[in-house]
């Protein structure tokens, strides 16, 4: 089971290591982790995706709540949220596969944001399963570098 935790924390030095350390020490998984400031400069938001059985997922929330730098936690399942990941990929191309790559990029609603004679930089901002799909498709060609944000998510709007 996967769960998404939106964790508001005090923007102090060492907080990221405390939270990450908690996951390491208790053997919780981090599938992805993204950190950024909020509208309040004193508060940062961490978006953590984790997987495990129900007891583990509940423990994660409780243990996070025990941390004195944690202000508030919201949790939700994948289907209750809108989640996005931004990814940049660099691929090597040749004349023969150039068209294939461009078609794939097009089909996946990704963009080519930089290009040289034999390299392309592709950007995609999409659901995590779709970014994973793009990796799979392009892997057959030749990805040389990847940078990605990890999953960002917010719960869907009220009806």
């Amino acid at each position: 089971m996967k769960k998404i935790y939106t964790v508001l924390v005090e923007n102090r030095s060492g907080v990221l290591s405390k939270v990450a350390g908690l996951f390491a020490r208790r053997g919780f998984n981090i599938d992805s982790l993204a950190v950024g400031e909020t509208d309040d400069p004193g508060v940062s938001v961490m978006t953590i995706v984790s997987s495990g059985d129900e007891r583990t997922l509940e423990q994660i929330e409780k243990q996070l709540n025990k941390k004195l730098d944690v202000i508030k936690i919201k949790t939700y399942h994948e289907e209750e949220s809108i989640s996005r990941e931004l990814m940049l990929l660099k691929v090597k191309y040749t004349k023969s596969n150039r068209k294939d790559i461009m078609e794939t990029v097009d089909a996946m609603k990704a963009d080519i944001v930089d290009m040289s004679k034999n390299q392309m930089l592709i950007q995609i901002c999409d659901r995590p399963d779709r970014t994973a799909m793009l990796i799979k498709l392009l892997n057959e060609i030749s990805i040389t570098e990847i940078a990605r944000t990890g999953t960002l998510a917010l719960p869907k709007c009220d009806n």
């Binding site: 060492g14 007891r55 409780k62 243990q63 709540n65 025990k66 004195l68 202000i71």
Partner: protein
Amino acid sequence: MNGADAMAKCLELENVKVVYGYPGVAIANFFDRLGNTGIRQVLVRTEQNAGHMASGYARTLGEVGVCAVTSGPGATNLLTGIATAYADSIPLVCISGQVESDLIGSDGFQEADVTGAAESFVKYSYLVKDVNDIPRVFKEAFYIANTGRRGPVLIDVPIDVQKAEIKNFQYPEEVSLRTYKPTVKGHVQQIKKAVSELKKAKRPLICAGGGIFLAGAKDELISFVTKHDIPLVHTMMGIGVLPTDHELNYGMVGNNGTVSANKAMQESDVIIMIGARVADRAVANPDTVLDNKVLVHIDVDPAEIGKNVGPAIPIVGDAKSILQDLVDTDFEIDTGKWREYLKQYRSIRERVRVSDKYVDPVAFVALLSMAMDDRSIYVADVGQNQIWSCRNANIRTGGRFYTSGGMGTMGYAIPAAIGAKMADEKRQVVAVCGDGGFQMSMMEFATMKEEGVDIKVVVLKNNYLGLVREYQHYSLNDRYEMVKLGTYPRLSDLARAYDIDYYLADGMEGLEEKIKDFLSAKNQAIMEVTVDANDTVK
């Protein structure tokens, strides 16, 4: 007023009476200014024991224990003391000196990232970067340590911050932390649910842990169990919540516990667990043990509920407040048959071996504890001595039993006993160690003498690391690797070196008299008890 003055002032305002510690250049300024206050400074012989002494002190008074050490090795030596306190939820404020702020991160002399190193076993930690933060940080630290689930808080103060002038010292009256608001009152609806389960119960049981002492909830617990005659079992940390011989006390649970307690756990239909964390040594397979029963779990730390055992009816809050609510709720249950049934297992006692060469540890612990004052404090170390003590010490009304339960830190007993005695000099305090744990802490005899603290120390001496040897006996084909301590040091000579009275018990004959003499010695005293290395706790 500089930072060091401010730190000392904060401790005064928190009504701290004793600081255990060890200086170094990075904390000397603080001790210098602490000397201007009436606070007693106790120089230990190694930093770990400053933590244990503060722990014994805190457990005796229910107040925060305080220790202070220097940067680098001073701080890392203290880590075991901090972790030991954390595992048993003992409130400590630990102060460490740190290298100059500018040097932090440069691997300077005696620099260690102690807040980083201690992160997983402190309740919270501070690295003070601005001298003006000192009053707020100290106020918060004491509040965090001794509210909610108790625990150690670390304050790391760079040397330049200790020396810097503080503009306006104002000690906050209140703590305002948006991220920390421990629950005290139990949820009314949840308490009702628990009571309705209890009403239906045929075989109700209370399992009490160390949280009872931490919450100061002993009286409320006794009122509750005696009001309804509910049988009680306890964890190792819960020894003494009811007197050992109380008719409702069925003993300690767990793989080192009593037959009656474990039977009661297995066969009960409603268990009320209070201030106990259901750790592996207490309940080996929590989920199977709790088949077909209703579990009501009362804990101040919501994360304990459902961590090792579940599902349960959770009641989050302070044990004292919740037990008072339970006492105030009127209902009737009849536990007569259930108690009658459990009684048959109560009489199962451990065997006592009679030998003229050795002292039987089971008999010894029973005799020792019976000869101690009712309001005495029995501090057990870790190992076989601890298990024998847990199972056979007789703790009466007002008596206490301390040990390092969660962390199992060898060498805890002597320093913790010293701290306990300093907290309440009227109480008799006895430390019981094996020869392994004793040698990890015997340097504190010097502290004990210099400070004039009168404790009695028992060494159950079998020349081996007994509990590991026992494991090797049962599980590693009697290959006794790395466990032979041998006969040194000669305790009689050691006692002379420290001007301590020495007693030897090397057989069962006249043992009771010897124990009486030992306990009534005017001076600090050590009793060497010759135990057969083949004696086991199993």
